[in-house]
């Protein structure tokens, strides 16, 4: 089965367009039309589409295991009654590149509302399919599932975000806690696929990445909408989204090496659910929700490069002062991501 995909990837691993793209994306930062786009990846000289897809695969391993554990109480590679009933098949962990790790933490959420339970099941199934899709497309080039921490990582992150009671936070405790946990991931997935889109060289891969980008944004919209319905005044879990987004923006900003720390909050690339004033049709300002995570001028969703994403999911492990650290380790990826020789970790 892998032959066809392997052949396709061999065809894709052509460096001719690579150089032009690196120049092209680097030039985006100063461009008016790309005002919300960060300066993109410049780290690795000869990465391929496979490296980009493998970076995505690491993130999908993380997301899929979180949702499988929350919705079914099992990791993605082991079936149980709940996963079978939902039509979520166990996934053969066929990736071999890098060092295989184990998944720690995580447990079935005692859901009390049909809304949140049904969303969790749907999302688990879809993120699992993304893992299968990438594994299948990458074939023998696919990275192994790295060590993933889905337990204490959330407490570390919640504490860093200054969520009340963060040192005891568990996303598996309740419907509301689960939504907060999901919030941690979904907008990041959007920015990661968005950042990767213009790095891909193959039209087919671009179309697929755009399709997955859309799904991640559907999920993000789902999570933000549901939190808004539960806490429309933003006094409970709605306020946590602001804390998490602020932390993500800080980590993202820190990954732009050389940028002044004072810029952290002046131009964030992440917004929680706090309402904001808008002018409609030239009229006076009215109040709007923030169900979309995008800039306030052009309303184009944010994009992040791989170092920015790595710094978020490792809780700052991708940078040390003004120096890039590779492999980045910490929080959700205690031993770092897996990547090929020229890949991103």
């Amino acid at each position: 089965m892998a032959n066809q995909e392997t052949q396709l990837l061999d065809d894709i691993i052509v460096t001719s367009r690579r150089k032009m793209l690196t120049l092209g994306v680097a030039s985006l930062a100063g461009l008016a039309i790309g005002a919300s786009a960060p300066s993109a990846e410049a780290a690795t000289a000869f990465y391929t589409d496979a490296d980009i897809l493998n970076f995505a695969l690491n993130l999908e391993y993380l997301e899929a295991n979180f949702y499988y554990l929350a919705a079914f109480g099992t990791t993605i590679d082991k079936a149980n009654f709940a996963s079978t009933a939902a039509g979520a098949p166990p996934i053969a962990l066929s990736g071999t590149v890098g060092t295989p790790g184990t998944v720690s933490g995580g447990s079935l959420v005692p859901f009390s509302t049909i809304q949140v339970a049904s969303y969790a099941i749907e999302t688990a199934v879809e993120e699992g399919k993304h893992v299968q899709l990438l594994l299948s497309a990458l074939g023998s080039s696919a990275v192994a599932q790295p060590a993933i921490n889905l337990g204490t990582s959330f407490q570390t992150l919640a504490t860093a975000a200054k969520i009340p009671g963060g040192s005891g936070f568990s996303p598996y405790a309740s419907d509301e806690a689960f939504l907060v946990g999901a919030y941690v991931f979904e907008d990041v997935g959007v920015t990661a696929y968005h950042g990767a889109a213009s790095l891909l060289t193959s039209s087919a891969n671009l179309t697929t990445a755009a399709g997955i980008l859309a799904v991640e944004a559907y999920h993000a919209g789902l999570v933000r909408t549901t939190i808004n319905y539960i806490d429309p005044d933003g006094t409970g879990i709605g306020s946590y989204t602001n804390l998490i987004s602020t932390l993500r923006a800080s980590l993202s900003q820190a990954a732009l090496l050389g940028a002044a720390p004072s810029a952290y909050d002046s131009n964030p690339d992440d917004f929680g659910l706090a309402t904001f004033p808008v002018s409609l049709g030239g009229g006076s300002a009215v109040t709007a929700t923030r169900l979309t995570d995008a800039d306030s001028t052009n309303v184009v969703a944010f994009a992040r490069n791989t170092t920015q994403v790595l710094n978020i999911v490792t809780g700052g492990g991708a940078v040390n002062g003004t120096t890039a650290v590779s492999p980045a380790m910490g929080v959700f990826f205690p031993a770092g991501m897996n990547a090929g020789p020229n890949g991103f970790k």
Partner: protein
């Protein structure tokens, strides 16, 4: 068109490839997905880009037409008025100079909203208005003006979808009548916006990629998907709260819209068919162990759908006819070289 020569020259190299090679791009997509989940059917429709030469400017202007429509709908729903006159004008170099008008129908601020609901309408209206401004700014003198827009088309569309039998007056569908009716109205557009940008992304030239057009389009795509996620989540959540499909007919109405979109796009008038539909019907979860269907994506791989320019036109024109030059929400067509359906 000489005024566009800069853009055309920048985009021409990949353009030729795309115009002639849409089919091979489709083959590649099918290949890339072939090994997945044992499914060999291409869930991403085979792209059929127009064979005429086109530029990145043409692609962005096509999107601008759709954003004009969405912005007018949401602005009227949120505030009772639409885009400002300065936001719908023609760029000096555009080959389209006639500024269209809006047929309002029932268009008015949606009544009886809770404060939170009003804030949500404000957000979406603001964001679609921002997309109009953004695209107009990016296109500069090449921006097309707003075409004629008919917001009274919701009535006939609802009849075609078999939601109701009256196109106007008593018993007709009015998306401005209530929050729930508004959700159905918004539903008509949002998944289409997502797929339109997905379909357009690979049409952008290599030079356009370097210029930031692709990342901008991908960013707008994501915003449209946030909106679609909002609309689908709201319809699903309110149906669950109501307890049954009968108690909340709007969920079923939305699925009727999906069926109509499928029949308009897949088989066209010659051979009506929904085979290969790029729709995911909403579900009504009834227990803690049943999944929702918030995401519109392929069942095999959970990859979001894409629509070609033609497929989008069939929906907004409300017509399965090949050769249609307008109709539906755009009674005199869109201001675009893609204005006529070709497949």
């Amino acid at each position: 068109m000489n005024n566009l020569s800069t853009f055309i020259n920048r985009g021409v190299s990949r353009r030729k490839f795309l115009a002639g090679a849409g089919a091979s791009a489709g083959t590649a997509a099918a290949l890339a997905l072939a090994g997945c989940g044992g499914s060999t059917e291409s869930m991403i429709p085979t792209p059929t880009p127009p064979t005429t030469s086109f530029t990145d400017v043409d692609v962005l202007n096509f999107a601008l037409n759709l954003e004009y429509l969405e912005a007018q709908f949401y602005l009227y729903a949120a505030t009772g008025s639409g885009l400002e006159a300065s936001e719908i004008t023609a760029g000096s170099a555009s080959s389209y100079q006639n500024v269209g008008s809006v047929t309002l129908g029932n268009a008015a601020a949606v009544p009886d909203l809770t404060p939170s609901q009003q804030e949500i309408l404000n957000e979406i209206a603001f964001e679609e208005q921002a997309h109009v401004k953004f695209l107009r700014s990016a296109l500069g003198s090449a921006a097309v003006p707003m075409p004629d827009i008919d917001l009274s088309f919701f009535g006939p569309l609802a009849v075609a979808a078999k939601i109701t039998t009256a196109a106007t007056g008593a018993g007709s569908f009015n998306p401005f009548a209530s929050f729930d009716a508004f959700l159905v109205g918004a539903f008509i557009f949002e998944d289409v916006g997502v797929t339109a940008y997905s379909g357009a992304a690979p049409l952008i030239s290599a030079a356009g990629v370097a210029s930031g057009y692709l990342t901008a389009a991908a960013g707008i795509l994501a915003v449209e998907a946030y909106h679609a996620g909002y609309v689908r989540t709201s319809l699903t959540g309110r149906a669950i709260a109501a307890g049954s499909a009968a108690a909340y007919p709007y969920l079923g109405d939305a699925n009727l819209v999906e069926n109509l979109r499928a029949t308009l796009t897949v088989g066209n008038s010659a051979a009506p068919s929904t085979t290969g539909s790029v729709e995911t019907l909403l579900t009504l979860p009834t227990s803690l162990t049943s999944p929702s269907a918030i995401v519109a994506a392929s069942a095999a791989d959970a990859v979001g759908f894409a629509r070609t320019v033609d497929q989008v036109l069939h929906i907004v024109y409300g017509s399965p006819t090949v050769g249609a030059k307008g109709g539906g929400f755009f009674p005199n067509g869109v201001n675009s070289i893609f204005a006529t359906t070709t497949a």
